[in-house]
Structure formats: structure tokens, C-alpha cells
């Protein structure tokens, strides 16, 4: 796949793969060596799609809630969520 072995070592690729795997929601149950390349790719694609769908969903809900709000209220809510998380 990558012909730039001199710049990126195999170790770094393995590290990337394990990091990616640790992000995915399902694979935390299993041991880290179980997943094959195809499985990792498929779960990553599914996860990205679900995250993008969630953003879309949240935009919907926020647009509902923010319907009548003025600027100050929006700003206050943003600050409140900054401070609470």
C-alpha cells in the first residue's frame, strides 16, 4: 500500500491502527488483536457515518430549540455548556 516505508515505520502504522480501533465503540469489548483490516475499515466507515448523522440530527434539534432565541440567550447557553463540560 504505502511505498514510503522510509518515512513511516511499521510500528507507527500499528500504532495508528490500534488508536483507531480504540476509538471505535464496538471493539472495546474484544482484544485488540482480533480485528482484521476489513473489519476495522468497515467499523470505521460505519462509525463516521453515524457521527455525521448525529451532527445532522443535533443541528435539527438545536434549530428547533433556538427558534425564538435572541443573541444573548444563545451566547449564554454556549458559555454555560463551556463551563459545565
Amino acid at each position: 500500500m504505502s511505498s514510503r516505508r522510509s518515512r513511516i515505520s511499521d510500528d507507527e502504522i500499528n500504532e495508528l491502527i490500534s488508536k483507531l480501533q480504540s476509538l471505535l465503540p464496538e471493539s472495546r469489548r474484544r482484544g485488540s488483536n482480533r480485528a482484521s483490516a476489513t473489519k476495522l475499515l468497515k467499523e470505521t466507515c460505519t462509525y463516521i457515518k453515524s457521527l455525521q448523522q448525529e451532527v445532522d440530527d443535533l443541528s435539527d434539534r438545536l434549530s428547533d430549540l433556538m427558534a425564538g432565541m435572541d443573541d444573548n440567550s444563545v451566547q449564554a447557553d454556549i458559555i454555560r455548556s463551556l463551563l459545565s463540560s
Binding site: L16, T38, I48, V55, L62, Q75, L82
Partner: protein, 222 residues
């Protein structure tokens, strides 16, 4: 990873608020729910990309969003006088990086039809080995991933992996921040609290303290 999230938060919300303000200023009332949703989504995506800084996928995303006619006003509002320069910096892709359609993949996919796959699994066919089946599956899945990650189509191998990792982290942060904003908005709208003017002053100070990197100086509230 946690450190990245901390950085993203302030920058993200600053950009998000800015985007919302701008979209409010140039749309006429009454605004449809659809329009408001689109401007929220656009502000959120742009905020995520700008807060992350200049990576491959953020450049691709900003470039793609900025290329759409209806989004130019929003971007000009966010970037101000430096719109031209920033769009050039975030421009993507370069002319010589035109996307090559993968003919190889199509050919091997057709070659590896369902019947062949079954024969290969049974082990009675010596034309298509399981390793070729697996490799084709990897290729197909990689193609899907490339389409999902902004700018992914020009990357390969480890670069694609690292960009994917970065993108997933940012997406997750974006979702988390929007969720917490939604919770806060729910609480406030159910309580219907009257705000005192000093609260918004504090807010402005907080936002100006956030993130003093050079690139974002121009996004300061005037």
C-alpha cells in the same frame, strides 16, 4: 487526546457563535426551520474545521464548503478581509492532484463475482484465491472510507489512516460539544430565565480570552 478536546472547545464555540451571528445578520425573517438547521450545521462544520487548524481534511472540508455558492457570504463574514488569502491557503486540491478513477478495482471486483467467491471459499477453484477476495474487500472498503473522510480521495496508506483518526476525533468532539450545547439550551429554555446584562459581558470576555493563536486573531469580536 484530552488536551486536543480542551483546545477545540473554546475555539469551536467561538467560531460557532460567530457563524450563527453571521447567518442571522444576512437572512430575512421569518427564517424557515430548514434554513436555520442548515446554517447551524454549516457553522458547526466550519467551526470544527477552523478550530482544528490546518490539516489535510480541514482544508478539503473548508474548500468544499466554501465552493458552494450559498455559503460564500458566511465564509466571508467569518474570515473578514482575509477571505481571499485564507481561501487560497485552504485551497484544495492542487491541479496536478486530480483524482484517478480506480479502474483496477472495478476489474478485479467483476472478476471476483459471487460464484467465484463461493468456489474460492470451497477451495475447489484455483482461479480466485481467498487472499484476492480479502484484498478486494479491503480495496472496496478503503474506497468507501476515502469518500467519507474529506480529502481522503487523494491519500493512501498511512496518511489516510492518520487523517481518518484525526477526523474521527474531531467529529466525536463536535458531537459532544453540540450535545452539551443542546442540553444547556434545553435547560435555559425550560427555565425561561431572564438574563442580566452583566452575564453577556462576561461571555464576551471569556470568548476573547479563548485561543490567541495568530491565525485566529482575525476572528476576534470587533
Amino acid at each position: 487526546m484530552h488536551a486536543t478536546k480542551e483546545f477545540n472547545k473554546k475555539g469551536f464555540f467561538k467560531q460557532f457563535l460567530l457563524g450563527l451571528r453571521i447567518s442571522k445578520s444576512f437572512t430575512t425573517n421569518p427564517i424557515s426551520i430548514e434554513q436555520r438547521k442548515n446554517s447551524i450545521k454549516l457553522s458547526s462544520d466550519l467551526a470544527m474545521a477552523f478550530a482544528r487548524g490546518r490539516t489535510h481534511w480541514t482544508r478539503a472540508l473548508i474548500s468544499k464548503l466554501g465552493g458552494k455558492e450559498e455559503n460564500t457570504t458566511m465564509l466571508k463574514g467569518i474570515m473578514g478581509r482575509r477571505y481571499g488569502i485564507l481561501m487560497a491557503i485552504y485551497s484544495y486540491p492542487l491541479p496536478h492532484q486530480k483524482v484517478q478513477r480506480g479502474k483496477k478495482i472495478v476489474r478485479s471486483y467483476r472478476f471476483c463475482s459471487g460464484a467465484n467467491k463461493r468456489r474460492a471459499l470451497k477451495g475447489s477453484c484455483n482461479r480466485v484465491s481467498p487472499s484476492i477476495v480479502a484484498r478486494n474487500l479491503v480495496n472496496r472498503r478503503t474506497k468507501v472510507l476515502k469518500r467519507l473522510v474529506p480529502g481522503g480521495e487523494l491519500l493512501n496508506g498511512s496518511s489516510l489512516l492518520s487523517e481518518t483518526l484525526d477526523y474521527v476525533i474531531s467529529l466525536k468532539a463536535q458531537v459532544d460539544m453540540m450535545k452539551s450545547l443542546w442540553k444547556a439550551t434545553q435547560i435555559s429554555s425550560s427555565r425561561n430565565v431572564e438574563l442580566d446584562p452583566s452575564a453577556s459581558c462576561q461571555g464576551r470576555k471569556l470568548l476573547m480570552l479563548a485561543n490567541s493563536k495568530d491565525e485566529f486573531q482575525l476572528f476576534k469580536k470587533s
